[in-house]
């Protein structure tokens, strides 16, 4: 039993370190982009077009991950693209979480007419196909960072609302909630101080998952050119461009894909890892 526990916690620890490490690294690079990126991400230099990454013959110093067909540095563009990805992840993820989790918590704990109203709203909302919904929203709002964020929040709050509602309902049936009433705690106090701490691990996992989803959605929208203006580097935009020259310069496609993959994976693993690490009940 003790062995199994240490095994689980060690594995959870490794997961936490790897995913957290990548996200910290990415965040630092994004914040310090002007200082750490080797080149101006927009500077074109046709004489330095399609340079291969550093380990291949013909590579040039200053272009560690190679350059694209316009001679722009791939690494610098990835770093600046991380800015957009992380801003969308953090802001859209947090807003989605706040709105969805609050509604879910209220519906699940209070029941009655608040639950009826919120649940019906969720049902109606989920009847819209999400991709169509997103493209429609962007068409109405116009492209831009805030449009992407609004589209993600508007579409995905139902995920939080549904899961948190179910969990809050399960918790509300426990005797510790009755016991809070016996102690004279108000309804709102019980929701915030008794139920919320018990729903928080679920919320945390959903939040990091949502951040990963936000990164993907941003990448998809910039891939189809519905994201921010085309001259700013985004991972989705890089992938779209790299696709055209895959046989001549695979690195233009592959490196942003790897960055995207690692980031999305890290977000989902971070939530699970944090839950395993800091949940007193599992510890």
């Amino acid at each position: 039993m003790a062995d199994a526990r240490t095994f689980v916690s060690r594995r959870a620890g490794l997961r936490l370190w790897l995913s957290g490490g990548w996200l910290v690294l990415l965040t630092l690079a994004a914040v310090l982009a002007p200082f750490v990126s080797p080149q101006d991400p927009l500077a074109q230099d046709l004489f330095a077009a399609r340079l291969p990454p550093f380990w291949q013959a013909g590579a040039e110093a200053g272009f560690p991950l190679g350059s694209d067909s316009l001679g722009r540095d791939v690494l610098s563009r990835i770093i600046y693209g991380a800015r957009v990805a992380l801003i969308v992840a953090v802001i859209a993820g947090t807003l989605t979480c706040l709105i969805g989790a609050t509604l879910g918590l209220v519906a699940g704990y209070f029941g009655g007419w608040p639950d009826l109203v919120i649940s019906r709203l969720v049902d109606i909302w989920m009847a819209f196909p999400p991709v169509l919904f997103a493209i429609l929203l962007i068409a109405v709002l116009g492209t831009g960072l805030s449009s992407i964020i609004i589209a993600i929040v508007v579409i995905d709050w139902t995920r939080f609302a549904r899961v948190v509602r179910a969990e809050a309902m399960r918790q509300a049936a426990m005797d510790y909630v009755a016991s809070a009433q016996v102690a004279g705690r108000s309804r709102a106090g019980t929701m915030l101080r008794e139920i919320l701490p018990n729903v928080l691990p679920t919320i945390l996992v959903l939040l990091t998952l949502e951040m990963g989803i936000a990164v993907i959605v941003e990448a998809i929208l910039s891939f189809v050119n519905l994201s921010i203006s085309t001259d700013q580097p985004t991972w989705g935009g890089m992938i779209a461009e790299g696709r055209l020259s895959i046989y001549q310069a695979w690195w233009v496609l592959v490196f942003p894909l790897v960055a995207l993959f690692l980031t999305v994976l890290s977000f989902s693993q971070l939530g699970e890892g944090l839950k395993d690490r800091f949940d007193p009940v599992l510890r």
Binding site: D175, V182, A183, G184, R185, S186, P197, P280
Partner: protein
């Protein structure tokens, strides 16, 4: 102050019967408590027994106003609490406390034992929380260091002691204990019962003890109320009820007590 802690008259309570709910319109009501009346004087230890589904827990939850009766009246220390709204009940709640059957579910798993006991104290404006928590733990025979533990780190018996500590820390006038030993093994059962006996003696508690096990009631309670299908079928001195049970279901409950068989040997 009245020396009747509880005065209960013609208490009725019904639930909607969802199994017979028509497609449209309200579900028919099913009456679970069918007009109960009894008094609990200050300092009394009353047993409430009855078979499963007889309405014991429902009665307890109505007495604590976790449920609202549909009819009749509940006077607590002379004050009518039958239909008081939650906001008016809240300041009174310190005076009537409850110990729950399942301590795993009745202790918030994310809070430490210290926080669990201190929470209600803070709500009712007690000062000197640290010392009060320490004293409550001491009363139930748990070491001071337990306050930093989480419920899942304790044994079943220890958890139930935390539930008792939380209730007595508020210095209530009345405590309801709903089947508090039925989830424990025999030796923890005996320990928790001993503890309760001691606390009743030392703190002068008024206690209602719900159980389906008459042997536990016989040990602890002066008086007993026997419930059957939401009605009181028998009430009186525990010893007298044991000697000459009037109702058939009381006799059944008494017969259900395992008697030590003098003919049995270990060989």
């Amino acid at each position: 102050m009245s020396d009747m802690i509880y005065r209960i008259r013609d208490l009725r309570l019904d639930f909607p019967d969802m199994t017979r709910k028509p497609l449209f319109g309200p579900a028919p009501r099913i009456e679970v408590l069918k007009g109960l009346g009894f008094d609990i004087p200050r300092g009394d230890v009353v047993g409430i027994v009855g078979s499963s589904g007889s309405g014991k827990s429902t009665l307890g939850r109505a007495m604590l106003r976790l449920l609202e009766p549909s009819h009749g009246s509940i006077l607590f220390e002379g004050r009518d609490i039958t239909h008081l709204p939650e906001s008016a009940l809240r300041p009174l709640r310190r005076k009537f406390q409850m110990i729950f059957q399942d301590p795993m579910s009745s202790l918030n798993p994310r809070l430490t034992v210290g926080t669990i006991i201190a929470g209600p104290l803070r709500l009712h404006g007690f000062d000197d929380l640290g010392r009060r928590v320490g004293r409550a733990l001491d009363h139930v025979g748990l070491p001071e260091a337990m306050r930093h533990r989480y419920p899942h780190e304790l044994s079943g018996g220890q958890r139930q002691r935390v539930g008792i500590a939380r209730a007595i820390a508020l210095e209530p006038d009345f405590i309801l204990a709903d089947e508090i030993v039925s989830g424990l093994d025999v030796s923890s059962q005996a320990q928790v019962l001993n503890l309760l006996e001691t606390l009743v003696r030392e703190l002068g508690l008024t206690l209602a003890f719900i159980s389906h096990d008459l042997s536990v009631i016989r040990r602890l309670c002066k008086r007993v109320i026997v419930l059957h299908r939401g009605e009181i079928v028998e009430t009186g001195d525990t010893a007298a009820v044991f000697r000459a049970p009037k109702a058939a279901c009381t006799r059944e409950l008494i017969e259900a007590i395992p008697l030590p068989d003098p003919n049995q040997t270990w060989a």
